[in-house]
């Protein structure tokens, strides 16, 4: 067995038991001791008193007064001069008293006169003593002066008050003894002498001592034994189960959260058993919950990962390229979903060079179900739009398809318009969607028309088309109710009034700025309150008929890598060849392409470049536009290099752009929609 430190709880219990035992033993001891003493004292008192009473009765017939008178009359040896009859009586009585002393086991007996007022002068009449004792008998008439306050006080009490007294003298000069003092009265009732009976109580003191020793020893043995038995019982029945529960509970996490069956071995049939079994039950439950939680967490993580992918897929489905090369219109749109995926949608398609279709929609509900629905609707819109259907036809065919199999009752509100870029006319159809705002003459107003029924709600609905004509500079702002219903902590909604305030605060802004400005106002309004609805905005600004780039547009987008330069070059070269571009002009354009493209790949940090080559047939002008999403950089801002420097002073910085500027007819730089837009123009037949 290995040594185990005594548990604190055991130590505490032993200590408390020890103290309690000690107190209990002490009480028992003192009670016994007191009762023992009292009993013996009473017994002894009674004994000596009755002996004294016998002696007094016996002495009633004696001539004590005569002896006293005689003693007072002679000075020395009063016994010799005593009358013979009196002497004979005295001797006879003395023998009787001696007999008492011997047979009652007294130390001594005395009959004496004590004189006041101090009661210290004693004159003895009788004084028989025990033969085996250390005392010597005082003869008749013996006088002594005894100063002992206790004795003197007792004598005074006897002679003056006639009261009997019992005195206990412990460990005095004559050892421990008990004395009964009785007054001896004459016929007149006057106290003439004191009878003293002294009995040894050494035996009683010793007995009491033995009793005390015995009790202490027995109590100690018994207490220790009881403590031992109690402790071992307590240890086995209570401490051990408690320690077991403590240990097993501590081991729980170490064991990997597995419940310990040892706990079930506690079968006390009391609360400890309940405790141990409850702890076991608790451990089992925790174990179960941990397992369950692990599964649930893993599942949750999987769903979150998938949701993350879904977010990216949905995000990728919404177009982000806002026609930076177009000058006849500008467009911007954004959607921020309240959850990972949203039920809002926007889309825009340049149907041909002259027609721009744009649409905003809001599926009822949110999250994944709405997102699934949104994907379907967006795809339908897109494919019908590409088939060249009119707005109302797009809605009608889409509606027909989504009504079928729409058992869950989802529906979508939507606003779709087709802008004629030549005339500024928008033909649009509204299916239960909130009215867009249109900016005209520097002020926004609602574009209100009677709304049609929502999509997906009912079969065979005819959607009525309306139209509006935009003037150059006019802007149309579409949104979903996530904008107007963005709410604050207090539940107050952003509302149409605030929306118009935001819109009117930057009326002439480009669409991107318009949307961002509205978003800023919303964010300031809602503070940090999480929104429960998707927020979608689309703004389109009509700039009027495109002055430049009449004719054919050719566009190519590739990753911004040096290796792709050859592909871009041949793309441009092929088109220029088609227009029978003179070789020299072609070379100049290709040199310019090399200069600009290498700048983009080296310095802009862009990951994508779009080249848009437009050939205007009326003027036979080629416009090549480079659009990259790199850091803003306007190469035209730099000064031209000094070409007259000597060779040692020459650097090569800025030469490329310098060549471009010198060989092209026109170069321009713009920053649009977070892209660098660099255009070069060259007359092909120059």
């Amino acid at each position: 067995m290995t040594y185990r430190k005594l548990p604190i709880i055991t130590r505490k219990i032993v200590l408390v038991s020890l103290i309690t035992g000690l107190i209990l033993c002490s009480v028992v001891f003192f009670a016994g001791y007191w009762s023992f003493s009292k009993h013996f004292e009473n017994q002894y008192d009674k004994d000596v008193r009755s002996v004294a009473a016998v002696v007094r009765d016996f002495l009633q017939s004696d001539s004590i007064s005569a002896y006293i008178a005689h003693i007072d009359s002679v000075k020395d040896s009063p016994k010799k001069s005593l009358d013979s009859a009196l002497l004979a009586q005295y001797e006879r009585n003395r023998r009787t008293l001696q007999y008492f002393v011997d047979n009652f086991n007294l130390n001594l007996l005395y009959v004496s006169v004590v004189k006041g007022p101090e009661y210290k002068d004693i004159t003895y009449i009788y004084n028989p003593v025990s033969k085996n004792g250390k005392w010597k008998e005082f003869p008749l008439g013996y006088r002594e002066t005894y100063v002992e306050p206790d004795y003197n006080k007792s004598a005074k009490k006897i002679f003056e008050e006639g009261e009997p007294i019992v005195r206990h003298t412990l460990k005095s000069r004559s050892g421990s003894h008990i004395t009964s003092m009785l007054p001896l009265k004459n016929a007149d009732g006057k106290v003439i002498a004191v009878i003293g009976i002294q009995k040894d109580i050494q035996e009683y003191v010793s007995a009491r001592h033995r009793f005390a020793n015995f009790v202490v020893v027995v109590e100690t043995i018994f207490a220790l034994l009881a403590l031992l038995i109690f402790s071992s019982f307590f240890n086995r029945k209570f401490i051990n189960p408690i320690l077991l529960v403590t240990e097993e509970a501590a081991k729980f996490t170490k064991n990997g959260g597995k419940p310990s069956d040892k706990l079930l071995s506690v079968n006390n049939r009391d609360e400890l058993q309940t405790l141990a079994h409850s702890v076991h039950q608790m451990e089992s439950d925790v174990h179960k919950y941990i397992n369950k939680l692990t599964t649930v967490t893993a599942e949750k993580e999987r769903i979150e990962t998938e949701l993350g992918v879904a977010t990216r897929i949905q995000d990728a489905m919404l177009p982000k390229k806002f026609f930076p090369e177009r000058t006849d219109f500008e467009l911007f749109a954004s959607m921020s979903a309240a959850k990972e995926v949203g039920g809002d949608l926007y889309d825009y398609i340049l149907l041909d060079d002259q027609h721009l279709l744009f649409v905003v929609g809001d599926v009822s509900g949110k999250g994944i179900p709405a997102a699934l629905f949104m994907v379907v609707v967006k795809t339908l819109f897109h494919s019908y739009a590409e088939q060249g259907l009119s707005p109302s036809e797009i809605f009608e065919t889409t509606n027909k398809i989504i009504v079928k199999g729409n058992t869950l009752g989802y529906f979508i509100t939507s606003w779709l318009g087709i802008l004629d870029l030549a005339t500024g006319e928008i033909r649009f159809v509204n299916a239960g969607h909130c009215h867009p705002a249109v900016c005209r003459n520097g002020k926004y107003e609602f574009l209100k028309t009677k709304a049609n029924f929502v999509l997906g709600g009912m079969d065979s609905i005819a959607y009525q088309e309306h139209s509006i004509k935009l003037e150059p500079g006019d802007q149309l702002f579409l949104y979903t109710d996530g904008v107007t219903e963005a709410n604050q902590n207090g539940g107050e909604l952003f509302g149409e009034a605030r929306l118009f305030e935001a819109l009117n605060s930057c009326c002439g802004a480009v669409p991107e700025e318009t949307c961002k400005n509205v978003r800023k106002h919303i964010d300031e309004f809602v503070q940090n309150v999480a929104q429960f609805d998707d927020i979608t905005m689309l703004a389109v600004k009509f700039n009027g008929k495109q002055q430049k780039n009449l004719g054919e547009h050719h566009e190519k987008t590739m990753e911004a890598k040096p290796e792709n330069q050859a592909a871009f070059s041949s793309f441009v070269e092929d088109i220029l060849n088609k227009y029978q571009c003179p070789a020299k002009t072609k070379t100049q354009i290709l040199v310019a392409l090399d200069e600009i493209y290498s700048n983009i790949t080296k310095f802009s940090g862009a990951n994508q470049v779009t080249m848009d080559l437009a050939i205007r047939e009326d003027t036979f002008t080629a416009t090549l536009t480079f659009i990259d999403n790199g850091t803003p950089y306007d190469p035209l801002q730099n000064d031209d290099p000094d070409i007259n420097l000597s060779i040692d002073e020459r650097g090569i910085g800025g030469l490329g752009i310098y060549i471009v500027k010198k060989t092209m007819d026109k170069v321009s730089y713009n920053r649009k929609n977070n892209c660098n837009v660099f255009s070069i123009e060259k007359k092909l037949n120059g």
């Binding site: 420097l645 030469l655 490329g656």
Partner: protein, 99 residues
């Protein structure tokens, strides 16, 4: 781009075939570094160079400086009009020795 090297009594002629732009410039630069270290008389035959961009200018400037430092000579021959225009445009005609 193809570069053909010809040695004749310590002088070197490099015949370049192709265009020298930002993609081919590294190859041109490599050939030029080697040639500048090997000869004091370097001739560049530009007969088959369609056009050059500023990347080519960088290499030519760098090479000319190097030849000047070792008191060597570098000349360009058979430069076509398009390329010559670039050299004129950028003031390189006064820096380079163009036949």
């Amino acid at each position: 781009m193809q570069i053909t090297k010809q040695e004749n009594n310590g002088s070197v002629t490099l015949a370049i075939d192709g265009i020298i732009d930002s993609t081919t410039a590294p190859q041109f630069e490599e050939a030029m570094v080697e040639a500048c270290g090997a000869t004091k008389s370097l001739t560049l035959d530009f007969a088959k160079v369609g056009f050059v961009s500023s990347a080519a200018l960088r290499v030519l400037l760098f090479s000319q400086k190097k030849m000047n430092a070792i008191q060597g000579a570098m000349k360009l021959i058979n430069v076509n009009d398009t390329v010559r225009e670039v050299f004129e445009l950028t003031g390189f005609v006064s820096v380079l020795n163009i036949a």
